[in-house]
Symmetry: C3
Subunit: 350 residues, 3 copies
C-alpha cells in the first residue's frame, strides 16, 4: 500500500544518459529515457506490437525504438512509426508524468491529471552553489515503510552502526516528535558528549578538534509520500549547538528518497548534502563511500525484518516513544491512501 | 498449450552416449538412454521403487539401473530385475515412443498408439553427403510460440542482430506469407543490396567478392508441431537470386527445432545446414560458433517478452503483416491441439 | 508431518560460542544462544519491538540484545530491558526447552510442559573416554523421512557409495527387521566377503590385513523422533564376526540425528563414533573428511527424489523387504504424531 498520486524519485539522470532504463515503480513497469531535446520521458515498458519491453531498445532522435522489431514510441505513449506499417490504429501505452529536477528524475505513477510539478520535493540545498550533494542507490527487499521507520528512529544507529555514527547517548536521550500538517519531525539533542568516529572525521575535515565534547543533533523530517531529510551535526560543546556559528560545527543533511518498487521492495536513493567545501569533489566521493558503507549495514536487517513480518503477518509491532516518528508518518501515508481511494485531496482529510 | 501427439527433438545422440539424460519434454519428466543394442529408449524419470529419478542411474547392458537401490528398468517401462526381489508385480512406468534419426533423438510425448515414425520431420539435407550440419542447444524461458513468432518474422534481425545479419532493407521489403496445408511459408526477397557482415564473410568463404550488391532471400517454413526451417542466402546481384547458379551464391538452411519443456520454457535446438565444403569440420565449427553468438542475442528479448506477457496476461498482441507467419503457424498449432482434444486427426480439421 | 513433542538436535555447541544462531526447527524460527552462565537458551527469532530477527543481535552478559534497537531478551522469552523504556508490558516471545548434552544442543519444539530432558537420546559412547566422535552438518532439501528410509535400507550403498562402502554382497544378503517398542532394528550380516575400500583402510588403521575375507555387519537402530544409529564393522573371517575379540576387528557407530527444518528440508547431523585410538585427533579429522565425502553422495539423490515426489504426489512407493526398516520407523513416527494430536502419550498407543 502506497500512494500513487505522488512524485517519487525514479532514477538519477546519469542512469538514462546512454540508454533507456526499465524500472518498476509502485508496481508499474516503466521505461525511462530522454525524448525530444533530451527531455525525460516515461512510458509503460511494453511494446504494443508484441509485448517486448521497450527498455531493451534504444533512443534515436528522441524516439524510443523497440529493440525487437523497430516500433518507434513517442513520449506520450503513442506509436510514432514502424517500418512498413501504418501505426494510427496502434493501441497507446500509458505515459507517466515525469520531471527532471534537483539532480533526480521524478515520476508520478498515479492519475496523470492530478500531477502538478509544483508538488515535487524541494530540497533547500539543491541548485545552491554553497552546497554539494553525493549519493547512491540501493535495492532493498522490504516494505518502504520499514525504511521510513528506520530513518525516523535513529536509536538503531547505536546497534546497526555501532562503529561509525552510533553511540550510547542516542539511546539515552529522549527524542521529541511532532507533526506539522503532512510533515513529521522527530528531533534529538545530545549535549556534551564525545563524538563517534564518523563525526570525529567530520570535525577534522572542518579543521576542528576531534577530541573534545560536542553537542550533537538529529532532526528527521518526513514528508509524503516517503521522503526523509535528516539534519545531523555536531558543534563544539557550549557554542550554541544546532545554532552555533558555522566555524564551530560540522553538519550535513542526510537525504533519503524511498521509492516503492513493489509492496515488499524499494529503490532507496540515499545521499548527503553539505555546505562546506562544496567544490571538493574528492571529499564528496569520500563521504559517499563512507555513507554507502554505513547505509549498507541496514540492508540485511531490513530484509530479514521483512521476512519475519511475512512469516508472522498476524503479529503486531510495538509503538514506543522512539517509534513515534514512524507511527505518525504512517498516519500521514494512510491519510493520503484513503484520500486517493475516495478521490479527494489528502489535505481535505488532514 | 502444445500438441502432445507429435514428434519433438528430445536431445542429440551425444547427450546420451555416456549416461542417461533426464529432460522434461512438454511437461513430462523423461529419462532418455541407450537400451539394448544401443537403441534409444525413453521412460518416465521415476523409479517405481522409491520415486528416485532414474536419470541419476546408469546403463548396464542396455538396462537402466536405478542409482539408488539398483532396480533395473526395461525400455518398455517394466521392471526387469532388482537384487533380491521378485519384480513381477512392480507397477510399470510410462514409456515413450522414441526414434534416433537425422542426427537427433525424437520423442512422442502423447498417446503412444498414435506414434508413427513416418511423421518425423524429414530434412532433405540430412543423410546427404553433399551437406554438412552443425548446431547447438539453448534453454530459454519462454512459450515455444514466441520462438516460432521470432523465426517467422525476420524483421527482428535489423534490431536484435544489427551487427551481423540485420540490415535496414529487411524492414523495408514486404514479406509474403502463405499456408499449404499444415506448412506455413513466409518469404522475403531483397535485390541489389549491400550484404551485411555475416553474408560478406559467407561470400568470402565461397570465394566470391564481398563488396558488391547482392540479391538476398529468406524463406521460412513452419511445420507442426514447432519446426522452422529457413532458407537463407545471397547471390551476386543479377545472377538469378535464389535461382542463381551455385557459383554465384552463398546459402544455407537455418534449422530450428523448438521443443516445449513447459508452458513457459523451451529446449531450442538450433543449427545450420550448408551444401558447400561439407567436409570442412573447421568451417562447421566456425559457423556454429558464429550462429550460436547471434542466436544468443534473442534469449534476453524472448525471456523478457515472456515476463511481460505474464505481467499483463489480458493484453492482446498486434497481428501485422510481418506477423502473418507466426499468426498462421499458431492457427495450425491450435488446430492440432483441438484435434487432439477431440480425439480426431488434425487433418480432418484442416 | 513430524512430532513436535520431541528432542531434536538443534546445533553443535561451537555454533553458538561466538554469536546467536538463527535456525528453523520443525517450522519454528528459533534463535539459539548462550544465556546466563553460558547456559544454552532458545527463543523465537522475533523481537517484540519491531519484528527484527533476534539472531542478528549479540549476547551481552547472558542477555540477547536485539541488533536493531537494543531490546534485551531474557532466556524465558520476556524482555528484560530496553534503553529508555519500561518493558513490563512488552509481549513475551516463546521460549523453547533446550539442553546441551553429549556434544549437541537439543531443542524441544513442542509443548514445553511435556519436555523432560530424561528423554534426550543417550548414546552409550558419549562421555566415555574410550570413544571418540567426529561429525558434521548438511542441509538437505528433503522430507526427514526420506533420510530415515535411506539409513534404514543400506542396499543403497552398493549404488550411491559404490567406490567406498558399497559392495554387491549388501544387495545379495537379506536383512532382518524387527521392532522393539519404539525402536526399529534392521540388521545384515555378510560373512566371508572381501572388504570394500573404506573397510580395507579401517583394517589397516587397526593394524589388520586388508586383503583377507572378513565378516561384515550393519545394525541400524531407529528411535523416535528421527535418530538412526548404525553399528558397522568387519572382523577377520571366522573370528566370531560381530562378537569377535577387538583385536580381530574394525568397527564404529554411524551417528545420524535428523532434524526437520520444514516439511521438505532437514538439518542432517552426521558423524561417527569409534572406540579405537580415541585420542588420535588427526584420525578423527581424517575419518570425518572421508565420511563427509561419502555422505555428500546422498544429497543429490535425496533432493531429486523429493522433487519427484512433489511432482507426482499421488504416486505410492513400494514397500519391499529391504524397506521394512523405514516402513516400521514411519509407523512409530505416525503413532507419535497421532498421540500428539490426541493429547496422549505415544506409549499409550504403542
Amino acid at each position: 500500500m502506497f500512494p500513487k498520486n505522488a512524485w517519487y524519485v525514479a532514477c538519477t539522470p546519469d542512469e538514462i544518459d546512454d540508454k533507456p532504463l526499465g524500472r518498476r515503480i509502485c508496481g508499474e513497469p516503466i521505461v525511462f529515457y530522454r525524448g525530444e531535446a533530451g527531455r525525460v520521458a516515461a512510458v509503460e515498458d511494453w511494446c504494443p506490437h508484441r509485448g517486448a519491453p521497450l527498455s531493451l531498445g534504444r533512443v534515436v532522435e528522441g524516439r524510443l525504438v523497440c529493440g525487437y522489431h523497430g516500433l518507434e514510441m513517442g513520449c506520450d505513449g503513442k506509436t510514432v512509426a514502424m517500418p512498413g506499417q501504418r501505426v494510427r490504429g496502434f493501441p497507446p501505452v500509458r505515459s507517466y508524468p515525469v520531471v527532471e529536477r534537483h539532480g533526480f528524475v521524478w515520476v508520478w505513477p498515479g492519475d496523470a491529471e492530478l500531477a502538478d510539478p509544483a508538488g515535487i520535493h524541494q530540497p533547500f540545498w539543491a541548485d545552491n552553489p554553497a552546497w554539494a550533494y553525493g549519493g547512491g542507490l540501493y535495492h532493498i527487499r522490504c516494505d518502504y515503510r520499514l525504511m521510513i521507520d528506520n530513518l525516523m528512529d535513529l536509536t538503531h544507529e547505536t546497534y546497526v552502526h555501532s562503529t561509525s555514527i552510533g553511540q550510547k547517548e542516542i539511546d539515552e536521550t529522549p527524542c521529541n516528535t511532532r507533526s506539522e500538517g503532512d510533515t513529521v519531525i522527530t528531533s534529538r539533542f545530545m549535549n556534551g558528549i564525545i563524538p563517534p568516529p564518523f563525526w570525529q572525521a567530520a570535525l577534522r575535515a572542518n579543521g576542528l578538534p576531534d577530541d573534545q565534547p560536542v553537542d550533537r543533533w538529529q532532526i528527521c523530517r518526513f514528508t509524503p509520500p516517503s521522503h526523509v531529510m535528516i539534519e545531523v551535526g555536531v558543534a563544539l560543546a557550549g557554542k550554541g549547538g544546532y545554532d552555533a556559528p558555522a566555524e564551530f560545527k560540522a553538519s550535513s543533511i542526510v537525504v533519503d528518497y524511498i521509492t516503492p518498487e513493489s509492496e515488499t521492495s524499494i529503490w532507496y536513493f540515499w545521499g548527503m548534502a553539505r555546505n562546506f567545501r562544496p567544490d571538493d569533489a574528492e571529499l564528496t566521493a569520500t563521504i559517499r563511500e563512507g555513507q554507502g558503507r554505513i547505509f549498507a549495514e541496514d540492508l540485511e536487517m531490513l530484509e530479514r525484518q521483512q521476512a519475519n513480518l511475512l512469516q508472522w503477518p498476524e503479529r503486531g509491532l510495538l509503538k514506543l516513544n522512539i517509534d513515534a516518528g514512524g507511527v505518525q508518518a504512517r498516519r500521514v501515508i494512510d491519510r493520503h491512501i484513503a484520500a486517493e481511494r475516495a478521490g479527494s485531496p489528502a489535505t481535505a482529510l488532514a
